[in-house]
């Protein structure tokens, strides 16, 4: 038998094919469904039950053992509470990054290793250089998920396989179909998994008490509308401002203490543009990059790769960028290699 690999199977097409490919490549594969925290909505079918069932169906189809790891408590503590805290502080967090750091490439890895695995694998679009403990961009530049993976450790990468990193999504679907996998035609999941279909606003309103406040035009300071809670507003947001008529307004800032949201017609408002960013909570996968070394930065998932340099924790972008929110991550690349990154602390609130 080959190396014992535990594959995180979510019930989607990507992780299904991941398991299938590893079986074909001669690994000794076990499928694992991670039960993360979800909030049950009354009267609705438990949304994850279908996913678990699909994952299990594929495992049975492949003839591999299948397990369920219950990570609900840890997930709630490390990911959901983090997200709620960040929103409350007026920042824009990214729960997927936290989930990868804390759950998939830490808790899952540790649990699997203790359970007899030698390695783990997931269906992420990324490549791992196991020998050199490096994370690399995948072949499919559009599906590239490395933005979500920059906080993973080198120790984890040494034990992680990303079999899909060398394929395009289109190719993955075709391969899944060819193998008759039950999930071949399943729609890709959208949005934050545990929020489900209710939408982020409704989800947050279940946990965070908000009070209505004023929406002010930045330039004039005039009250142009009212909001239900400043936390619901993200920088650059255009819709849902309850401000009627005329040119569209964009959110250009918030004051959480005063519970005020600031808007402007002017997309080019100078306060919206930045070319240096302070990063906190920096994580380097391997060695930190050299000072003034030309690098590439990505400020959001699927965002453009921007030319930059980094000195200490200060990121210098060659060209100005618009609407960088505090709390979002800046991920740094040297060519195809993901170096790591940090969380923007002096973006706009």
């Amino acid at each position: 038998m080959g190396t014992k690999v535990f594959v995180g199977m979510s019930g989607g097409v990507d992780s299904s094919l991941t398991a299938a490919l590893l079986v074909e490549q001669g690994y000794d594969v076990t499928g694992v469904y991670m039960k993360n925290w979800t909030q049950d909505m009354p009267g609705m079918r438990c949304p994850w039950a279908d996913d678990l069932s699909d994952a299990k169906r594929v495992a049975v189809q492949l003839g591999i053992p299948f397990k369920v790891y219950d990570f609900q408590d840890e997930y709630r503590a490390k990911v959901v509470d983090y997200m709620l805290g960040e929103y409350q502080a007026g920042r824009t967090p990214n729960p997927d990054i936290m989930c990868n750091q804390e759950v998939k490439f830490k808790l899952f890895l540790e649990t699997a290793l203790a359970d007899g695995a030698e390695m783990i694998a997931t269906g992420h679009y990324a490549r791992s250089d196991v020998n050199n403990r490096k994370l690399l961009r995948p072949v499919d530049a559009v599906k590239d998920q490395t933005y979500f993976l920059y906080r993973v450790s080198a120790d984890a990468l040494e034990k992680t396989l990303f079999p899909l990193g060398i394929y395009t999504k289109e190719h993955v679907r075709k391969m899944a179909e060819k193998r008759g996998l039950a999930t071949a035609f399943k729609r890709d999941s959208q949005g934050i998994c545990f929020v489900g279909s209710v939408g982020i606003k409704e989800f947050l309103s279940e946990f965070i008490t908000t009070s209505p406040g004023e929406i002010k035009e930045k330039e004039s300071g005039l009250v142009v509308g009212y909001h239900e809670g400043a936390i619901y507003y993200t920088l650059g947001q255009r819709h849902g401002l309850n401000v009627g008529g005329g040119l569209p307004y964009y959110v250009v800032g918030k004051d959480m203490e005063k519970n005020e949201v600031y808007v402007s017609h002017n997309l080019n408002d100078t306060s919206m543009w930045q070319n240096t960013l302070q990063l906190t909570d920096i994580h380097w996968i391997n060695e930190p990059p050299k000072e003034d070394e030309p690098l590439l930065a990505r400020l959001r998932h699927r965002g453009k790769l921007l030319r930059c340099t980094i000195t200490d924790a200060r990121l210098h972008l060659d060209d100005q960028e618009r609407a960088i929110a505090s709390g979002q991550s800046a991920v740094l690349y040297r060519g195809d290699v993901v170096l790591g990154g940090g969380i923007v602390s002096d973006g706009i609130y």
Binding site: G43, C46, A49, K56, V60, Q61
Partner: protein, 383 residues
């Protein structure tokens, strides 16, 4: 792979050919609104009322007492919410479908006791009744174990309660509703013999169209509608009537009733063959439900230590379609309420399968499928 042997008749039944044929004109030529005053409207109205009369004949009821709905869930909601406008207490069976559990949720309610075969005695119902109980709802047969309840005996027990209330000067009315969805086509649906006050039926479980159901309401019982509008169905179910569904429903139920005796015999033979083969070839298999009082094609089995979901997936890839015996088995919070109520352990419930035989089956095919099912169960258990 497609389905070669369909053993999931309790989940859905194929549309009866004659019903389909009878429905077709109402999707094309006879599209009219039964409320229209022209010839087209009259034609649709006649078809609708004839269907209602045919359904009434099967039940031995008056056509006017039948409200056509969009399925059993709606019928149940109409019965419960329609009767409980003034509040009060409800008694439901321990093996009721989720739609009944959900419908009574807003009201004070008691769930009856049940024995380990899923059988609910009149005494168990009586014990659950309070002075302010307005409604008792017990299914004719449950959808998981397929156990058939003594509805007529329960009705007689409720008569005693009513008599006692009269004596005590308690003028709270007591209504008896039964969900006959699983029983249509298999059991006698005569309301006179059943002794119920309200009866729900579902076309989709007896070879009729989906989203078609009825609620029979004994003359004189007043219900409030769930919503109002054009005032169709005596104001209890507003919205333009679905004539095609009514015609299909009536045709399907009529056919099922006409051929009931021979179908019962054949289905019973197939079920017995399935049970015998599984019992012989699978060690420690338990046949759940009532040994005698069960739906003719319904077989619920459980095997301790088995992961039934895996068996269902493997059978699926061999072209055999059936269900796990406990809904949402993976989710401990929503493990089958029915199996919990009869005292089945969670581990046993996770190893349970529901095999429901019907019109799409024949004896040789069922015997062959039984052997495949037994083989896969044994493989899963490492035997």
């Amino acid at each position: 792979m497609g389905i070669k042997v369909y053993l999931d008749h309790a989940a859905a039944t194929p549309l009866d050919d004659r019903a389909f044929k009878a429905m077709r004109p109402f999707f094309s030529n006879i599209f009219y609104n039964p409320s229209s005053s022209h010839a087209g409207g009259r034609e649709a109205r006649v078809a609708l009322e004839q269907s209602r009369a045919r359904l009434a004949r099967v039940l031995g009821a008056k056509p006017n007492d039948i409200i056509l709905t969009a399925g059993a869930t709606e019928s149940i909601y109409l019965a419960v919410h329609g009767l409980m406008t003034e509040g009060g207490h409800v008694v439901i069976g321990a093996t009721e479908h989720d739609s009944v559990r959900a419908a009574v949720e807003p009201y004070s309610h008691t769930i009856t006791q049940v024995d380990k075969t899923g059988y609910i005695t009149p005494e168990a119902v009586r014990r659950a009744i309070q002075d302010d109980t307005r409604l008792v709802t017990i299914a004719l047969a449950d959808s998981e174990l397929g156990t058939v309840q003594p509805i007529a005996d329960i009705a007689r027990e409720l008569d005693n309660v009513r008599a006692q209330r009269l004596k005590d000067g308690n003028n709270t009315p007591l209504y008896f509703h039964s969900d006959g969805s699983q029983a249509a086509g298999a059991l006698d649906l005569s309301i006179a013999r059943l002794g119920v006050d309200l009866l729900t039926l579902n076309a989709a479980k007896c070879y009729g169209p989906k989203q078609a159901g009825l609620l029979w309401i004994r003359s004189g019982i007043k219900l409030s509608p769930l919503f109002s509008g054009g005032g169709q169905e005596r104001g209890l179910r507003s919205g333009t009537e679905n004539v095609a569904n009514a015609v299909g429903f009536a045709t399907a139920v009529e056919n099922a009733t006409q051929h009931r005796q021979e179908v019962l015999r054949e289905t019973g033979l197939m079920r017995r063959a399935m049970a015998e083969i599984l019992s012989r070839e699978v060690p420690r298999i338990v046949i759940d439900g009532h040994p005698k009082k069960h739906l003719p094609g319904h077989l619920h089995v459980s095997i301790l230590g088995l992961d039934a979901e895996r068996v269902v997936f493997r059978l699926d890839s061999e072209g055999i379609a059936l269900s796990t015996g406990a809904a949402c088995a993976a989710n401990k919070q929503t493990r089958s309420k029915t199996l919990e109520a009869i005292g089945m352990s969670a581990e046993q419930a996770d190893g349970s399968l529901r095999i429901t035989i019907g019109r799409l089956n024949n004896l040789p095919q069922v015997k062959q499928a039984a052997k495949v099912i037994a083989r896969i169960i044994n493989e899963e258990l490492g035997r």
